[in-house]
């Protein structure tokens, strides 16, 4: 059993600011994350043609890493961090991922030695525990995944991350059916259980190899909900429901830290503001700089309390201003410079609030993730911190309460969003307070409705 969070690291929401965390972490090459300054975290994907052989992939990563570092010193940035999200071959063949980490780290070392630039390297193996027809969370794929973590840690990756998929088979079902109890079960309970298993093991590897178990994101579920919800005019999921999935995800992503993660949390975890309010650990975030990868309704707000600032992913190719990774790393680093100016001149909280207000009323999602409300969600989670079901349910209820209480002249919601919210409220009010009852009811229901659900094999029921 892990030790659960039953209180928050910050006494007040206003204490949270970008670039600073309660428990900073340090990379091998001098980058301190959350120690008072924000740093760019550059993300990239190899071109499809590069995936055909190990040699081609290694050379693709060698080139793009060099490009990023070259640009960073040309423009005079004091620090830079890189994230390599594995393509499937790199995780399924652990030596590939390991070699690429090594090649990248060697380049970072050369630049660090020559220019003193502070560098960090994150590797994110893919969650390969999915067969064609079902999730296979435990078994040979899990062992392979752990081998991959060992290999990238050996190769020199400072920060170990993953985007795990526990619970996704149920979320995929419930997200198309407005099934809020299903969100709690899939994200909060099943996701939480899988997180505890995997992050306990990642931490062991990190300790053994002298690396940092960084953090996870509920990409597989809360981002699926966010993307299906889409823009203002999309008609696939109410944004009020997408944000409920998101706040439940905070409870789930928190489990990683309970099992040993130390930050920086993963960029696409839009639940990270809530998580940071509880753990005090640094977080990466993405927003307007991730428009190369996807569109969402919170481009500035997500900068409010970030420690690393990311672009999610961009294919490596040429642009008019250099290669794509150079263009994006420069944009990210300039954003970081602006935030760091605010810090140096005593204006950090002012800038934070401007970022936040730019998106606070754009959408129910931004409203809840605004740091003051996010903090309140954090409080609701830790209130029943010892129980994965109750705390996820608390997060959902607090979300509904905050949205209901919002000033409807400022946060204007459509009838459709309000109806979905009312339905969610009714579903939440009908939920039991007994964890065992909830768990056994859901087990029965989803076993009957979702053939891909393998509770014994995947969650050791």
């Amino acid at each position: 059993m892990v030790k659960r969070y039953t209180s928050q690291a910050y006494k007040a929401a206003d204490d949270m600011v970008f670039g600073k965390s309660v428990y900073p972490v340090k990379s091998e090459l001098g980058l301190e994350v959350g120690a008072g300054y924000v740093t760019a975290e550059v993300n990239y994907a190899p071109r499809p043609e590069a995936g055909v052989s190990k040699e081609k992939l290694v050379s693709e990563y060698r080139r793009l890493t060099t490009d990023i570092l070259a640009r960073a010193v040309q423009i005079g940035f004091p620090a830079i961090s890189l994230e390599t999200e594995h393509v499937e071959q790199m995780t399924n063949n652990p030596t590939w991922g390991g070699e690429i980490a090594h090649v990248q780290k060697t380049i970072l070392e050369e630049y660090h030695e020559e220019y003193g630039i502070k560098c960090g390297l994150r590797h994110t193996p893919g969650d390969i525990r999915e067969d064609r027809d079902l999730l296979a969370l435990i078994g040979p794929k899990y062992d392979k995944l752990m081998e991959s973590f060992e290999a990238v840690a050996d190769g020199g990756a400072d920060f170990l991350s993953i985007e795990t998929m526990g619970g996704k088979e149920i979320l995929d079902y419930s997200v198309l059916r407005n099934d809020v109890p299903g969100f709690i079960y899939s994200i909060g309970c099943l996701g939480g259980m899988d997180m505890e298993m995997i992050w306990t093991d990642i931490r062991k590897i990190a300790d053994k190899k002298g690396r940092i178990a960084a953090g996870d994101t509920d990409c597989a579920q809360a981002n699926t909900a966010m993307f299906i919800a889409g823009g203002l005019l999309d008609k696939n999921l109410a944004h009020t429901l997408a944000i409920i999935a998101r706040t439940i995800a905070a409870s789930r992503t928190l489990v990683g830290y309970e099992a040993g993660a130390q930050g920086p949390g993963k960029d696409c975890g839009y639940e990270n503001t809530i998580v940071k309010s509880i753990t005090g650990c640094p977080i990466a975030q993405e927003g307007k700089t991730a428009t190369c990868a996807h569109a969402d309704v919170m481009g500035n707000l997500t900068m409010q309390v970030c420690d690393l600032w990311s672009n999610e992913s961009v294919e490596y190719h040429g642009e008019f201003g250099g290669t794509s990774v150079q263009c994006w790393s420069q944009t990210l680093s300039m954003d970081a410079a602006l935030m760091n100016v605010a810090t140096e001149t005593g204006n950090a909280k002012l800038l934070r609030d401007m970022f936040m207000l730019s998106d606070r009323y754009r959408d129910p999602q931004g409203y809840i993730l605004a740091y003051d409300n996010a903090y309140k969600i954090g409080s609701a989670i830790v209130k029943d911190g010892n129980d994965l079901y109750l705390r996820a349910k608390n997060a959902a209820i607090e979300t509904v309460n905050l949205l209901t209480a919002a000033d409807n002249k400022k946060l204007v919601m459509s009838k459709f969003e309000l109806n979905a919210l009312a339905d969610a409220k009714a579903a939440l009010e009908a939920l039991t307070d007994e964890t065992d009852t909830f768990m056994s009811d859901c087990l029965e229901k989803y076993k009957a409705e979702e053939p891909r659900f393998k509770p014994e094999a995947n969650y050791k029921f």
């Binding site: 064609r132 997200v175 059916r177 919601m413 459509s414």
Partner: protein
């Protein structure tokens, strides 16, 4: 610090919203006579039990179970998909209505012991190497809801398997979904293999990574922007449209 947001953003979704609620709009579209009206309302609400109850009553009253499918269940579902097309209701409502309607069809089949003739057969799949299957699930649900038989091959489907399924099932059309630029090239291969075997089946392709420019590079390909285009294309095929006409209908430029 706070702000009056009206100068910095516009909630276009709120502005655009119809004055009438979806329930009111649906009620206007329900058939007048019973039990069709009650069953249509139950489909709209996604209430399976009410759908079955309505069907039971209708059958007790002498209605033919198989005819109920075409005369009552399908038109009831069409109200839902029409409202979705108009942007009045959201996808989960369609999914729940489709679940309820499909239960109704199963019930009618059991009652009559015979199998109704579907409008046509469609093979759906997600490209090899790609596990992103939510879009495909939506496509399959909308096709079923519109009365087509769907052979859902699932995700990460090897080209061979798609070809084998087309040979076996002789579908009126095939759909492909790909969300990764790395996986969508399988569609070209499927196209070539189908042509080699002389099977000129319209092949509608969509999903995040796919765009019209890519799809027009292979003969059988027709681009599908959104899931609702799949039943629309199936209907167009039924009405006799050939490849060239389908491209004209579904290609934007």
């Amino acid at each position: 610090m706070d702000i009056d947001p009206s100068k910095i953003l516009v909630r276009y979704n709120v502005q655009k919203e119809k004055a009438q609620t979806p329930e009111e709009l649906a009620a206007e579209m329900y058939p007048k006579e019973e039990p069709a009206r009650t069953i249509a309302a139950a489909i709209f609400d996604g209430e399976e039990d009410d759908v079955i109850e309505g069907l039971e009553k209708a059958i007790e009253g002498g209605a033919d179970a198989i005819k109920l499918i075409d005369d009552v269940l399908m038109p009831g579902m069409k109200i839902v998909t029409d409202l979705y097309d108009q942007g009045v209701i959201f996808l989960p409502n369609v999914m729940m209505s489709a679940d309820a309607m499909l239960e109704g069809i199963e019930f009618c089949k059991d009652q009559s012991g015979s199998v109704p003739k579907p409008k046509g057969k469609v093979v759906c799949h997600v490209a090899e190497g790609d596990v992103h299957d939510i879009g495909k699930t939506i496509v399959a649900a909308l096709l079923r809801a519109a009365g087509y038989e769907v052979v859902d091959l699932g995700r990460d489907v090897p080209v061979d398997e798609v070809i084998a399924a087309v040979k076996k099932e002789s579908p009126m059309m095939v759909t492909g979904t790909a969300l990764m630029t790395t996986t969508m090239y399988a569609f070209k291969e499927i196209n070539d293999r189908l042509l080699e075997s002389g099977m000129k089946v319209p092949f509608q392709c969509g999903g995040g990574a796919v765009n019209q420019d890519f799809v027009t590079t292979y003969e059988l390909g027709i681009y599908g922007e959104e899931a609702a285009d799949a039943p629309k294309m199936a209907a167009a095929i039924l009405s006799g449209k050939g490849l060239a006409q389908l491209k004209e209908m579904f290609h934007k430029h």
